[in-house]
C-alpha cells in the first residue's frame, strides 16, 4: 500500500470540472444551439456503429437538463459516482447525435468523464477536508491531461504547420479587428512565431507543469496561451476547461487552501471520511489501465493507413489534432435513375444546414453518408435505381482547390466501410511529419 496523500487536488478537480460542464451546457443552451444544431436539421451525420443515436426531438432539452443536473451534483460532490456515470452517458449521447459538431474538446470531456467514473473522490467540500487517497489517482489525471497536450504538440510537427505556418497564416490575418494584436497578426513572422511557439508549448507544457520548480511559470503560460486562443479562435469553453484541468498538477498544499475557501460554502451535511482509496481498488485499476491504453493508442491509429491523413481524414478524429487544417469545399450532388433518364441536381440546403453543408463538403465519411441518404430520399420520390454522383472540390491549407471525390463513382453503390482511396481522388501534394 502506497502512502496516502491529501485528496484535495481531486476534490478541486471535481469541483472545477463540474462547474465548467455546467457553464458549457448553460452557454450552449443560451445560444439556442440545441434547437439550431439538433432540432432544426432534418438529417444528422452519425458516427459509425452509433447510427442509433439520434436527437430526441423536444426531449433533447431534457437530455441537456439531465447533464446539467449531473454537473451540479459533480460540482458539490453529491452522489458523485452516480452523477459522473449519468453525466458521462448524457454528454456522450449528446455528442454522438451529430458528428457535424465534433470537437476534440468534446471528446476530451467524454473520455475524461468516463475515466472519472473510476476515480474515487470524496463528497462535498468541508466533509472532504483531511481525506486521504492513493496518489495514483491524481497521477492518472495528470497523465491523462499531459497526453492530450503532448499528442497535440506531436501533431503540429508537420510541414504545413512548421514550414508554411498553415493554417494560421489564413486564420490570423482575418483577426484584424482585435485591439492591439490586429496589426501584428498580419505579419508573416508572427504566423511562424505562433506556429513554432504553439508546437513548443504543447510538447513542453506537460513537463513544465510536472516539474515543481517550473510549475508556477508553466501555469502562467497555460493561462496566457489559452486566453490568447480564446481571443483568436471560436473554440468556446475549451480554453477555460484546460486552464482548470491544469490545476491538477499542483500539489496538495495549494488545493488544501482552495478547499478551505470552498468549505465556507454551506452544503447539506455529508458523511466525513478519512480515507477513500481502500475500496474496490482492483477493478478500478483494471478499468483505468484500459482507458489509459485507449487514450495512448487510439490517436495513433492513423499509422494503419497510408493515404494523406489531412486529405482522407481516416483516423483524424479522436487524436488531439487541433487547429491543423483549414479545409474549404464545395460538393454538388447529382442523382440519376439508372432505370429511366431521370436526373436531378441536389440543393444541399434543402436537407442540410449551412454548418452541416460546410462540414460535409470536406470530410469523406460525411459525403458518403449524405450520398446514401440522398439515394434513399430519391428512391422514395420514385427513382427506381438512384445512382449518386458528386462534383466536389476541396482546398486544403491554402493550396489551390482540387477535385475531391471521383466524379465517375456512384456513391450509392459504395459500402460505408469501403476504404476511401477507392473513391476519393489522390491528394496532389505531400505533407511531411506526424
Amino acid at each position: 500500500m502506497r502512502t496516502e496523500i491529501s485528496a484535495s487536488p481531486l476534490v478541486v478537480f471535481r469541483t472545477g470540472f463540474g462547474l465548467m460542464m455546467l457553464l458549457s451546457i448553460i452557454r450552449f443552451w443560451a445560444y439556442g444551439w440545441i434547437d439550431k444544431l439538433y432540432l432544426q436539421p432534418d438529417f444528422h451525420f452519425s458516427y459509425r456503429y452509433f447510427e442509433w443515436v439520434q436527437p430526441l426531438g423536444v426531449y433533447t432539452y431534457g437530455l441537456f437538463a439531465v447533464a446539467a443536473v449531473a454537473a451540479c451534483c459533480i460540482t458539490v460532490g453529491y452522489r458523485y459516482r452516480l452523477a459522473m456515470v449519468v453525466f458521462f452517458l448524457s454528454f456522450t449521447y449528446i455528442e454522438l447525435m451529430d458528428k457535424t459538431t465534433y470537437l476534440n474538446h468534446y471528446y476530451f470531456i467524454s473520455s475524461l468523464s468516463l475515466l472519472l467514473c473510476f476515480i474515487p473522490i470524496p463528497a462535498g467540500w468541508a466533509a472532504a477536508r483531511g481525506c486521504k487517497i492513493d496518489p495514483l489517482y491524481g497521477n492518472v489525471l495528470r497523465l491523462f491531461v499531459a497526453v492530450v497536450y503532448f499528442y497535440a504538440g506531436l501533431a503540429k510537427l508537420n510541414s504545413d504547420w512548421l514550414l508554411q505556418a498553415q493554417p494560421l497564416a489564413i486564420w490570423l490575418p482575418a483577426k484584424y479587428s482585435i485591439p492591439l494584436l490586429g496589426d501584428l497578426l498580419q505579419q508573416r513572422w508572427v504566423h511562424y512565431g505562433f506556429a513554432w511557439g504553439g508546437a513548443a508549448y504543447d510538447l513542453a507544457i506537460p513537463f513544465l507543469l510536472y516539474w515543481r520548480r517550473t510549475r508556477t511559470m508553466a501555469f502562467a503560460l497555460v493561462v496566457v496561451f489559452h486566453v490568447l486562443t480564446r481571443v483568436l479562435f471560436p473554440i468556446g469553453m475549451f480554453p477555460y476547461i484546460m486552464i482548470v484541468s491544469a490545476l491538477i498538477f499542483f500539489g496538495p498544499e495549494m488545493h488544501d487552501r482552495i478547499l478551505a475557501v470552498l468549505s465556507r460554502i454551506r452544503l447539506p451535511s455529508m458523511p466525513s471520511i478519512t480515507s477513500i482509496s481502500g475500496r474496490d481498488t482492483r477493478w478500478r485499476h483494471v478499468a483505468i489501465t484500459i482507458l489509459l491504453l485507449v487514450h495512448l493508442l487510439l490517436p495513433l491509429r492513423y499509422l494503419l493507413y497510408d493515404q494523406e491523413l489531412f486529405w482522407t481524414e481516416t483516423g483524424y478524429r479522436f487524436s488531439w489534432r487541433v487547429m491543423l487544417m483549414e479545409k474549404a469545399g464545395l460538393a454538388t450532388f447529382t442523382v440519376r435513375d439508372a432505370q429511366s433518364d431521370r436526373r436531378a441536381v441536389v440543393d444541399n440546403r434543402q436537407y442540410l444546414t449551412a454548418f452541416q453543408e460546410k462540414q460535409m463538403a470536406t470530410q469523406p465519411d460525411f459525403v458518403l453518408q449524405y450520398a446514401h441518404f440522398l439515394a434513399e430520399r430519391y428512391r422514395a420520390e420514385g427513382f427506381l435505381e438512384p445512382a449518386v454522383y458528386v462534383d466536389s472540390y476541396v482546398a486544403l491549407n491554402g493550396r489551390l482547390s482540387q477535385r475531391y471525390v471521383n466524379p465517375e463513382v456512384d456513391l450509392a453503390a459504395i459500402d460505408i466501410d469501403e476504404p476511401v482511396e477507392r473513391w476519393l481522388m489522390p491528394f496532389n501534394d505531400t505533407i511531411y511529419g506526424f
Partner: protein
Amino acid sequence: MYRLLYLLPLLLLACEPEPAEVDTASFDRGKMLTFWADQIIVPAYQDFTAAARTLDASVNAYATAPEPTALATVRTDFATAYLSWQRLSPFMVGPGQQLRLREQLNVYPTDSSRLFAQSDADLTLPSNTDIQGFPALDLLLFGTGDPAQHVEQLQRLTDRILYLATEAEDAWTTTYRATYVANSGNSATASVDRTVNSFVQWYERNLRAGKVGIPAGVFGNGPLPDRAEALYSGDLSRALFLEGLDAASNFFDAELGLATYLDALGVRRDGDLLSTRIRAQFREARTQAASLDRDFATQVTTDNGGMLQLYDALQRNVILLKVDMLQALSINVDFVDADGD
C-alpha cells in the same frame, strides 16, 4: 536557470521579422467597406431608384394616353430599369435583404395564370413573389396582345418597384450605411463576411444557376427555354446576364475590391495570384456569352451546347470564389464553435 524559461514567450516575439511580401497591415477593411458602401452599393441603389422612377412615370404617361410611342418609351424604360437592377442584385445585405428586394423584383418564371386571375393580389405576401416585379412586367408588356388592357396592373407593379427601391435606398443612406461601415470585424455577422457571402451566393444561385444553368437544363432533364429570364421581351436575357456578370467582375476588380484584398494578403495558388485566376474566368465567361444568341430561350432550343459551355465557365469561378477565395479571406459562414478539426 529555470527562470530563463519566463523569457521563452519574449524570445518568440523577438524572432527576426522576414521582409513581408506585401504590407498587409496597411490594408484597411474599414476603408474597403466605406468604398463598397459609397462607391458601389449606394450608387447602385441611386441608379436603380432613378430608373424605377422613370419607368413609373412613363407607365403613368402611358395610362393617361395609351399611344404606341408611349408604349415604346415604357418598354425602353423597363429594359433600363431591369438592367439597372442587375447591378444592384449582388448586394442584398441590410435593407435590401430585409425588404426581400430580390424575391419581390425578380422571381421568374412569372405565374401567368395567377398574374391575370389575381390582378389585385396583395404584393407584400411572400406567396405572391412570382406575380410581380420585372418578370410580371415582362409578360404584361411583351406577352399580351394589348398592354393597354393592363395599365392599372402595370401601374400597381411599377409603383411597388419604385416603393421598394426608395425604401431600401432611404434605409441605406439614412441609417444602415453607418452601421455597415462600423461593423468591420471578422464574424459571420460582420459586414465584410455578409457582403462576400451574399455576393458569392448570388453568383452561384442567381447568375450561374438562374440565368444560365436552369434554362440550359443543367439541373434536370434537357433545356427549359421557358425558364429564361425576360422570356417575353425575347432579346433581353443575354444583356441581363452580361450586366450581372459585369457587376460581379467590377465588384471583384474595384479599386478597393476583393482582388485588392486578396492581393494585399498575398494570396497565390500554384504560383499565380488567385485574383488573376478569378479575373481570367470572368473574362472567359464573357467571351463565351458573346457568341450566344441575344435570347437565351432561343439559344437553349437551337444550340444548348454553347449555353452549357457558358455554364461550365461560370462554374469554374464558383469553385475559385466559394472554395479558394472564401478560404483565403477566412470568411465565416455561421456562428458555432469550430476549431478546424
